[in-house]
Amino acid sequence: MERTNTLSIQQSRDSDFIREVEEASGQNLSKCYQCGNCMASCVYTFAYDYPVTQIMRLIQLGQKDTVLKSSAIWLCANCQACTTRCPNNIDVAQVMETLRIMSRKEHTVSLPDIQAFYDEFLRSVKTFGRVFETGLLPVYNMRAKKPFTDLDLAPRLLMKGKLTFFPAMVKQRKKIAEIFEVIKRDRFSKEGKARPEPLSSQPDI
């Protein structure tokens, strides 16, 4: 995300966005006084385009686009360090999670490969009821166009007998698929959108 060094506070402020984040996360974001503890505690700060503290500030200023398109929200591992140490008892990790959900809904996911991995994961769950680790990786590699990811691990894992070649399947797979369908239908109807959201450029889960 490109940074801008000037900001028109009134024109760029999206008050609905602030309200939506607060409602969905259950957090009062005006409590944040920008002490920086979340940034100081986050082990992923090095990789973020905006450190967590600035994400919080951007929400306070209603900067919807910048926030939902940031890579930070997708690089957060939800490790809870920020939440644990926030002096104002804000569940920061929950806010980040909320932003991820919103960015999916708004189709502004900045890191398609991470979304692709998540999608592949969910597809595996939907299909088998469980995650098929051995099957997941190659498909992801193909989709993310990083064919050699973790290929170095394969020989050793094979030797240790850790790779399974048949997915373990849940008997009531129908039930699992049904859960997925209901959720998708409800999301679709709740938002009243013309189309169900696509999952990156891949076939829908």
């Binding site: 100081a40 090095f46 905006y50 450190p51 104002n88």
Partner: protein, 652 residues
């Protein structure tokens, strides 16, 4: 009864959301109300004159003012009606500001509520009776609880004015936290040089009686006439004999006692005088560490003492003092940072508190004024200060600003540079709060002249890595995570109420807030009074304060005491219980329940017993009234009829 009603606009404070004219016009329709009006500022001089004029012109026998809280202006208006010739208890207030206009914006509902409240006040007033105070002598002696700088200032001011002062200090020495400090901001003058002479004054003034190592056991009585029981704690040393020569300390073989004065940085002997300038300079045995008291053979101190002051059989004693006023100056404690797991929870030896650092800086401290770190005694070169540890932190239940940390950090950083010119100091801060005289200039000097690196952000974690600690924080101005390798980390632990503050407040019958700080009578206009007459506040027991403010409040409390003691007699509160002997069935229940022993038996002719209230002892709580089966005891000005009249008006 001819009643007048005065509805105050309070500028727009009330009139903004209450139709005061309508309240007045509706009030005029109430039975007995012969005059009603609204006025811009009823408490102003012309406002009070308007009341007085109406009393004369309309022959009013009772007055209702609908305005702010009676806790604010009831005394003002009582004086006003008294000047116009009414008994001051023929007056009632309806609180239509704090309880109406300030808590809702619905003008119609507010006006309706205001009318109700005025009707209730009028209803009660109809049952009011003139009450008359009697006079009581004032015992012109003062009790000061706490011997820190605030208490010392108050005691000395009063003693200078000729008042007999009793000072009670829980520790074995006076001087409080200030005695532990090295230098003071923003002048960097030596703490013990400015406090020391005052401490000596306390010990030398003939009209100050000092009880150190003592605590308040109980307090009874009321303004002008308190009785205080003081528990003199066991010191195992007869202080009348002890000369403070220190011979016992030198020879005591128990060398691993806790050194409280040095905040645990060193060790003390089991028999100890904490510092050379201590007042009183008397030894105390720490029973926890004394060999003799723990069943081992010792008694070295008893043998060495030239005046035979050691007494292993000593027990606590209780002394009773009678005083007319009390100043609470119990000070503060520092936040226990062990709740911060991310800062090592107190387990990292080189993460210390600000007050520990004061002891390190102090020439009379455990390291003789040389800056070293506790773990290995090495001289640190990289020193990190972290502000707001236990301040402005909701997650540890301390959302308030401690007010002094920003300044003491700046001072310590400056002193560090003075001691160790080659060292580097870093201050992690959120905001710099330096609103005192010459304060901000001082903080600027730390940065501009002493090269202290201020980093705007909190610290997320401190951990040991090899010989040093890693301080992992944020620089929010840059928007980056920062790491500082530190030899020593000083946590600016915040101010919290003194341990035991709550229990003492209960003995004093004063209120305290959720953090244990004592409540002043009014945050702006009565900052040193409490809601218990005759009890005053000084220093940080009321809220975090620096030295100048504590001293100022000590003097302020002293002046309050002196203006009280300028009177030989004070008026008693006539709002006390009264027994109607015809109705009393002599069941004795009121005598049982009275918390103050204010009710006793009285024998009439023919041996008939009746309950009798001692008006000088009764505090007016009304427990007896609620208890009395035939309702023969009635609390004046809050009788059953008066309270029910209000309810009745509400239901009408």
């Amino acid at each position: 009864m001819r009643i007048g009603v005065f509805v105050c606009n309070c500028g727009t404070n009330i009139a903004g959301t209450v139709d005061t004219a309508k309240v007045a016009s509706e009030a005029l329709a109430f039975a007995d109300v012969v005059y009603a009006t609204n006025y811009m500022y009823t408490c102003s001089e012309p406002g009070q004159q308007e009341i007085q004029r109406a009393i004369g012109e309309y022959g009013l026998q009772g007055v209702v003012v609908a305005a702010c809280s009676p806790r604010m202006h009831e005394p003002t208006f009582r004086r006003a009606v008294e000047k116009a010739g009414l008994n001051k208890y023929m007056f009632e207030m309806a609180n239509i500001r704090e309880h109406v206009s300030w808590i809702g914006n619905d003008r119609e509902a507010n006006t309706r509520k205001a009318v109700d409240l005025v009707r209730m006040a009028v209803g009660k007033l109809r049952f009011n009776q003139p009450l008359f105070s009697s006079k009581m002598p004032v015992n012109k002696r003062l009790l000061v609880i706490g011997g820190g700088v605030a208490g010392i200032q108050a005691a000395l001011d009063c003693a200078d004015g000729g008042v007999d002062v009793v000072m009670v200090e829980r520790k074995q020495y006076i001087g409080g936290k200030m005695a532990q400090l090295d230098k003071t901001f923003p002048t960097i003058d030596c703490s013990s040089c400015i406090l020391g002479p005052k401490m000596v004054d306390v010990s030398q003034k003939e009209n100050i009686t000092l009880y150190a190592a003592s605590e308040i056991e109980s307090i009874s009585g009321y303004i002008g006439n308190f009785t205080v029981e003081i528990r003199k704690k066991t010191t195992y040393v007869n202080w009348d004999a002890c000369t403070g020569c220190g011979a016992c300390m030198e020879k005591c073989p128990a060398k691993k006692a806790e050194d409280y004065f040095n905040e645990g940085l060193g060790t003390a002997r089991a028999i100890n005088i904490p510092f050379p300038q201590a007042i009183p300079k008397k030894a105390v045995i720490d029973a926890q560490f004394c060999r003799q008291l723990n069943g081992k053979k010792c008694g070295v101190c008893a043998k060495i003492c030239p005046v035979k002051a050691i007494d292993f059989e000593m027990k606590d004693t209780i002394v009773t003092e009678k005083v007319g006023a009390i100043i609470a100056a119990t000070g503060y404690d520092l936040f226990d940072h062990s709740v911060y797991g991310e800062y090592g929870a107190g387990r990292l030896p080189d993460v210390i508190t600000g007050i520990q650092y004061e002891r390190i800086l102090s020439a009379s401290g455990p390291y003789g004024g040389h800056i070293r770190r506790p773990s290995d005694g090495k001289e640190p070169t990289e020193i990190v200060f972290i502000s707001c540890v236990g301040s402005r932190d909701q997650s540890v239940g301390r959302p308030y600003c401690s007010g002094v940390c920003c300044m003491y950090i700046a001072k310590q950083a400056i002193l560090t540079r003075d001691h160790l010119p080659e060292s580097n100091s870093y201050v992690f801060y959120m905001d710099i709060r330096a609103p005192g005289k010459n304060y901000d200039e001082f903080v600027r000097r730390a940065q501009e002249e002493y090269g202290v690196q201020y980093i705007r952000g909190r610290v997320g974690k401190i951990y040991q890595r090899g010989d040093r600690m890693v301080v992992q924080g944020a620089d929010t101005l840059l928007g980056v995570q920062v790491e500082v390798e530190a030899d020593l980390v000083v946590l600016a632990t915040g101010v919290e109420s003194s341990s035991g503050a709550g229990e003492l407040a209960e003995k004093l019958r004063i209120s305290y807030d959720q953090y244990g700080f004592y409540m002043e009578s009014h945050p702006k206009l009565r900052p040193v009074e409490t809601n218990t007459a005759g009890v005053y506040l000084a220093g940080a027991c009321q809220g975090p304060k620096d030295i100048p403010s504590s001293v100022a409040q000590g003097s302020a409390a002293a002046s309050k005491v002196q203006s009280l003691f300028a009177h030989d007699m004070i008026e008693t509160n006539p709002q006390v219980a009264l027994v109607n002997e015809r109705n009393c069935i002599a069941c004795g229940k009121c005598i049982q329940v009275c918390p103050f022993g204010a009710i006793q038996w009285k024998e009439l002719r023919g041996g008939i017993k009746k309950a009798e209230v001692l008006p000088s002892v009764c505090q007016g709580c009304g427990v007896c009234n609620a208890t009395c089966p035939p309702k023969a005891v009635q609390l004046q000005h809050a009788t059953d009829n008066q309270i029910l009249a209000e309810v009745n008006e509400l239901c009408a």
